[in-house]
Assembly symmetry: C2
Homo-oligomer: 510 residues x 2
């Protein structure tokens, strides 16, 4: 199956042949010409991941006062086995991402099928045809050593290759709008030089045609308001020169709801890139802070969540205070502080370390060990302990397992020879944990359990009756609540059934 | 002058003789009896410091629906040379604290002179006459080693003695309401046992008459809304038993504006004490975070204050983000994290350290060194450099020098043999820095200056014209803005005059 890309639903899509690519190039030219005749500008979105594919629909969906679309959007995804399937799936009007937001399937259908101004392709010559490229290439931080984010770095290889592809194809007056969260300094020190290099190779005079590079970061929130979190929300932007700033402002003003959420322009792309990473670091550090206090609170009989509610009464000064849980997952808070620290040391060659940021990431990355500590307060050894882990995604009510703290929990439980069985109503296989099976039936994980960990606060778990759980277990398991979602009444029921109940930050149970 | 207490205005007050104390005891009994006849309950406030003296007026000022005061308030201050003067000053209707809040002198005059239901005394037998004691004894953390808050501790000696005095005098049914910010655990592990011990010595059966101890913390903000910040603001409280909780709720409901700011009850005094220290730690940690990013921003040409504004657009999730400056001063953020860490390790004997909290305090305590670093980017050596430090208080537009970061700045400048001259329109002498003189005339500090540091953002400094400053200097000094208060236009003027301008977090100047 060398040349096939398999979609999550199992459907197989052969990768395009050179002949098909040849044909596709003609189609792209033809479509683009037709769309230009309709007075539309042409946009490409580079990378159809979690942000890119929805951003593409938002751009395509934007219309002028008369209801005419401003843009035709080419979504570009390389013809890799891992991702090519997205191209035919999108072109059938179906979103390549699962979401609880009903607007997601609607906006894909509307732009692809009805308006016909969004189309995906794997053919990179598309970049030669467009006025704007929105860069949404994925970029991750690598943390080679657990709990030592100070050793983390950012491998820009794929990102640089993506930008080089643009430099080889784009028209000199094309705006390159970087939307990916990048290490501060990337537009100035990586994107611009690569484009200049490729322009020069192509004989373009970069003094007369300096590359037009801008940066604007999204603030996507997964969940029920996925589309709105891209379109109807505050945006920060900047550019490497006056013209790129102007083009970026015009583009964002056309696509986004800037009437209700006016744009914020910063002085440089350095500033805009730094803002994004600082924004997420702020949250990462605040979560880290709460874990220390949760642990203290647990041991002196205090419920940290009630304390948090008391503190957050002070609106505007104290209401951002976050909460502890099993740990911190997802794609942003786990890496953005590392990107910034790495940029400071490497892209800018500065001394020092963003200590609060890095310490915060380390506390967050190792936070799941705290739940193991809670268990160890009750059991001397984890050896042969049977532990049911309920919830393996990184967030309530979603199936996304990227950087899920449950992975750390399960790994460390197994390291100490506990038997950890996993359950999640939204996850079938766990790619980050050797594609291991995740049960969807509680009967497969609860019987005989010594410990039941409510790791993620999925709504389904909130509905579980203590009597039911204990009956399936056939034991009197230790109940561990990582998400403050067992009510005082539920806890009392478990106790009545002979179970001990413990929880992250839940000292009132002790 | 062994037996004289000198007020800040220089007026001398002889300490009371034993004969006068004898007489005072009779007066206290008589006043109290008269006030009880008027249907008023009797309150003592222990400690007439920054919080205690204003809290006493708020309690005295509270009235029922018919406009009758609920309480008569005895303010108690020990007859020490340092503080006795407050007693006669208060009894003349004058506040013992300076404040920009016009309500402060009004409420003192109204309660002492007009309503005549607030009176100060230095006679501790007063505690035997009252229904409620509000404890406002000062309590500080000691940090024996600069930049190593992990070695900090809390000396409870004076606090314990104050509580012991209560135990020796109060009626068994008197509510002891601790308002001082204390290490978590203090009410349960310090206050209650001392009262029990003293009760038992007095033959009181503590099984039948358990001491009534409650905790509620103020959220005083110095400045223009001093009184309102005590009376018209959210309060958190708890008590060591049902009765103390009930009495505390009743007392606070009578005195404070609980209609607009309903009380929050927590499960235990441990929780309430922890909430207060966590609340301030949250801010201390967030300030520490901003310094790291300010330093990064400075070096890559980014203005961190504009970045902050961009991030804070996200109300409710990001708008608590604080800002860097010369450093963190005052009485709360510098010590509360240390109190909590010390309590965890000592009062509760727990392992570990509140690392984010302690690291935050260390960054904040050493933050003034960053301003010295900024100077060192321009001057190789500080030796013989003439530095004018404008502002030595810890906050804009107040004269309070407690834990002022300017102290660290000046000490370290002098350590490296710079000549640091200090100026402040609100401060005459600097008790924390060997009572050294602080100039109020810029002509005494600016002439010949190599560096002018705008250390504190007093309004008076904002009005200074660059041409005027440079003319008085007679040099082209390096201007350092620690508080982001020089506008871009002012900075441009300084540059036109030949001065370099630098600032904490102000990379756009570079």
């Amino acid at each position: 199956m060398l040349n096939v890309s398999i979609a999550p639903d199992g459907k197989k899509y052969p990768l395009p042949t050179e002949q098909e690519n040849e044909k596709e190039r003609e189609i792209l030219k033809q479509i683009t010409a037709e769309q230009r005749k309709l007075g539309r500008k042409i946009v490409a979105v580079q990378g159809l991941g979690f942000v890119g594919c929805v951003m593409a629909t938002v751009v395509a969906d934007a219309t002028d006062k008369d209801g005419n679309p401003y843009y035709f959007v080419h979504g570009h995804q390389r013809a890799s086995k891992r991702s090519f399937w997205k191209v035919p799936v999108i072109n059938s009007g179906i979103p390549p991402v699962a979401s609880s937001d009903p607007e997601v399937p609607e906006i894909f259908h509307r732009t692809v099928v009805e308006k016909k101004n969004f189309r995906a392709t794997s053919e990179e010559s598309v970049y030669g045809l467009v006025d704007v490229v929105v860069v949404d290439i994925q970029l991750d931080a690598t943390k080679p050593s657990f709990g030592e984010a100070e050793k983390g770095y950012c491998d820009l290889m794929a990102f640089r290759e993506g930008i080089r592809t643009l430099g080889q194809h784009i028209r000199p007056d094309c705006l390159v709008l970087v939307e990916t969260t990048v290490p501060p300094g990337t537009c100035e020190k990586v994107v611009k030089p690569i484009l200049e290099e490729e322009f020069t190779k192509r004989g373009i005079d970069i003094a007369a045609n300096p590359p037009l590079v801008a940066h604007s970061y999204e603030r996507v929130m997964p969940g029920a308001k996925y589309v709105a979190s891209i379109r109807d929300f505050w945006r920060v932007f900047s550019g490497v020169n006056e013209k790129s700033i102007e083009l970026c402002r015009e583009f964002l003003s056309n696509c986004l709801n800037v009437k209700d959420y006016p744009l914020t322009q910063l002085d440089s792309t350095n500033a805009s890139e730094l803002a994004k990473t600082m924004e997420n670091t702020y949250r990462a550090v605040n979560i880290a802070l709460t874990l220390e206090w949760a642990s203290f609170a647990e041991q002196i009989g205090v419920d940290i969540f009630k304390v948090r509610d008391a503190i957050r009464k002070r609106k505007g000064t104290h209401d951002n205070l976050l909460r502890p849980s099993l740990g911190v997952g997802g794609y942003c808070l786990t890496k953005d502080p590392v990107l910034a620290n790495w940029a400071m040391q490497t892209l800018f060659g500065l001394e020092g370390c963003l200590e609060m940021a890095i310490r915060g990431v380390n506390i967050n990355d190792t936070m799941p060990l705290h739940t193991i500590e809670i268990i160890k307060r009750e059991y001397e050894s984890l050896n042969n302990l049977k532990v049911a882990v309920l919830g393996v995604s990184y967030l309530e009510n979603v199936g996304d397992t990227r950087h899920s703290p449950s992975k750390t929990l399960v790994e460390f439980l197994r390291k100490e020879f506990a038997t950890a069985l996993t359950h999640d109503p939204y996850v079938e296989a766990w790619p980050e944990l050797d594609e291991s099976k995740v049960e969807s039936d509680l009967n497969a994980v609860l019987p005989g359990a010594d410990v039941v960990i409510f790791a993620v606060g999925h709504d389904q778990y909130k509905g579980l009756k203590p009597a039911e759980v204990v009956a399936i277990c056939g034991t009197k398991p230790l109940i561990v609540d990582c998400s403050n979602f067992l009510s005082d009444a539920t806890i009392a029921e478990y106790k009545k059934l002979g179970c001990k109940v413990r929880g992250v930050g839940k000292g009132h149970i002790v």
